[in-house]
Each structure stands twice: as C-alpha cells, then as structure tokens.
C-alpha cells in the first residue's frame, strides 16, 4: 500500500521544502521506497535543497504532457537508496498541472511500488497548493510560531478537510502538525508562541518540533537534506519526526530553553 503525504502550510518560507527533503530522505533511509515531488511550478527549489539541480533533465510537467516518461524524469538520489526526486517545471504556465495529469503520475508511482509519495506544496491556497494536497492521504502542516503562519495553517486545514479527494469521498485526511523554526529560549522569554499554545489553537496532533538552527542553512548551502547531518539538532529532530510517522513512540527533544548562565558564570564561565 502506498501513501501520499502532502507537506503544506499556506504561508511561504516556513520550511515546507526543507521539511519535504528531510522527511522523504528519512523515510528512504529507513528502507522505504520514497518519491518526493516538487509542486512549486515556476519556482522549483526542491532540486537545489536536495543537491540534484545539475541532474534535472525532464520535469513533472514534461511527464504530464507526455514529453518524457516518468522513469526519465525521476532522479535517483546518490546518497540514500530508495529515494527519488521529481523536480518541478520552470514554466510560468500555472495551469500546467491538471488533476488528471497529477493523478496519472501518482498512480504510476504507486504501480512502481513506491511506498511513500511526498508532495512539496507551493505557498498560497491557489491552484498549485490545491493540486499538491488534492490526492493526499495524510498531511504534514508546517507551522512557524508566529501569528500569520498559525492562521494560514488553520485555513489550509479547512481546505484539506473540504476540498481534497479524500474529503470528496467522505474520508478525512490524517493531519500532523510540524512546528519548525522553534526557539525555546524565546518561548521562555514570552516572545514566541509556545508549542502547547499552537497545538491548542489548531487542535492537530503534533508530529514534531524542529528548532531554529544554523545547520539548516548550512545544509541548503551544500545541497544535503539536513536530516543527513546526524550531529545537528534539526537533523535529529527530523529523524524523530520520521520515527513518529512510522509509529514509534519518541519523546520530543530540543524544546527546553538552554539553562541561562548566571551572573558569575557570565563573568567567569
């Protein structure tokens, strides 16, 4: 059985692509045949975050238009077995993704034995975001501890439960909340919404909390999904997300403020 998982948020720049790359790499690393699809037509970025930008020959829209086969367009990752990337097109035609076209690609991936199909959604609540979530069985809603991000997450949750294929068929999309760019220190200082507050407002089960971390930028600079950086807190937090998704009971990490240095420690420590 294969599962389609959309990584979505409404708001842009919250960490969807970072999370899609990490999550898909993590699933594949755990032995599951996984494809990650970039739905951000016109603004493809997943290829860059995955470090495969120079290997892009054909893209998602080429496959839909019959200009290439799916096999030709899928890029096999060289670091992680079982991981394949389907890059977005650079076309400016927003109508390039049709429901039928997307359905045929997803079905072909299922027939090819992909266990997980991860859909990296573009920002917004327009066509591209709709296409990314339409076929989803499960959704990872990426939220930053910040008012506009939380509100947009709430709106995208509404769309998931009213306009997805699952909703049309009377099923529901299984929701997971992923809080990213979290700073426990700032939460403790009262400057940032805490994870419990966000969970209470959105009432969606939490699948993980990714700390704000320099390693994310370093990972994107070098084109390695941050989950492969097993030393980094963000990488470890993403590994925990994958474990929880696979049904393991893993406690949250990196959610407490660093112990404040006392006055003397500041002076002499």
């Amino acid at each position: 059985m294969s599962k389609v998982i959309v990584v979505t948020s409404g708001k842009g720049g919250v960490g969807k692509t970072t999370s899609s790359a990490a999550f898909a790499s993590g699933l594949a690393d755990r032995g599951h045949k996984t494809a990650v699809i970039d739905f951000d037509v016109g603004l493809r970025n997943l290829d860059l975050i995955m470090g495969v930008e120079r290997r892009v020959v054909y893209d998602f829209v080429n496959v839909i238009n019959g200009e290439s086969t799916l096999k030709q367009a899928l890029i096999k990752d060289k670091r992680v077995d079982n991981l394949y990337i389907l890059p977005a097109s650079q076309t400016r035609d927003k109508e390039a993704l049709s429901k039928e076209g997307v359905a045929s690609v997803i079905n072909e991936l299922k027939e090819d034995g992909f266990e997980y199909i991860v859909c990296d959604s573009p920002a917004g609540i327009e066509k591209g975001a709709f296409m990314a979530l339409y076929f989803a069985d499960e959704a990872i809603v990426v939220t930053n501890p910040e008012v506009s991000s939380v509100r947009d997450s709430d709106r995208i949750l509404g769309i998931l439960q009213s306009r997805s294929k699952a909703a049309e068929e009377g099923r529901s999309v299984k929701e997971h909340l992923l809080i990213t760019r979290y700073s426990p220190d700032r939460v403790e200082d009262g400057d940032m919404l805490g994870m419990d507050d966000i969970v209470e407002i959105l009432s969606v089960p939490l699948i993980g909390v990714i700390p704000e971390s320099e390693s994310v930028l370093q990972a994107s600079n070098s084109g390695n999904p941050v989950i492969l950086d097993k030393e980094s807190k963000a990488g470890q937090a993403y590994m925990d997300v994958v474990s929880r998704f696979l049904g393991e009971n893993v406690p949250l990490r990196f959610i407490k403020a660093e112990e404040k240095k006392g006055f003397f420690k500041k002076l002499f420590g």
Partner: protein, 87 residues
C-alpha cells in the same frame, strides 16, 4: 522566583500570550463565518433530488426548495417540494 527574574519578567510584556489570545479570537470568528455559509454541495444536491422526484412526478425546478438551517447544536436540511395539483 528570584528577585532578578521577577524584575526581568515585569519589565517586558508577554507578547506571546497576546498572540495566542488574538489568534483564538480570529480563528473562532473565521470558523463561525465559514459554517454560516451554505455547504458547497447544495446546488448539486438539489439537482439530484429534482432528478429523482421527476422519475415519479413532474415538478418544476422552482417547486423544489432546499435549505440548510444552522442551529447551535445541529443543522437542519429543509426540503420543500410542491407537488402538482391532483385532480
């Protein structure tokens, strides 16, 4: 709580709490607005009901009235069909 941390907490407003309150109010409003709207399936539902009725009785479209009444605990689907006069 030590004296220093006491001062530190009072010096600055806790904006995170403010954010939470504002979000809770906003989202409650947005959800209420949404549930006040008629469901998307209403036109299609009306159409299909009309087709079923027409299998048995000839009715005009204007004789079929479909309405959703929003209650606090539950919604009521109201269906009003005026049948042609029987002789």
């Amino acid at each position: 709580m030590g004296l220093f941390s006491f001062f530190k907490q009072n010096k600055k407003k806790n904006t995170a709490n403010l954010a939470k309150e504002r979000l809770q109010i906003l989202i409650a409003h947005e959800h209420a607005d949404k549930s006040r709207q008629a469901p998307d399936y209403l036109p299609k539902l009306k159409d299909e009901i009309l087709q079923v009725i027409r299998k048995y009785v000839q009715v005009n479209e204007k004789d079929v009235n479909v309405n959703v009444e929003k209650g606090s605990d539950y919604d009521v689907l109201e269906l009003n069909i005026t049948l042609p006069e029987s002789r």
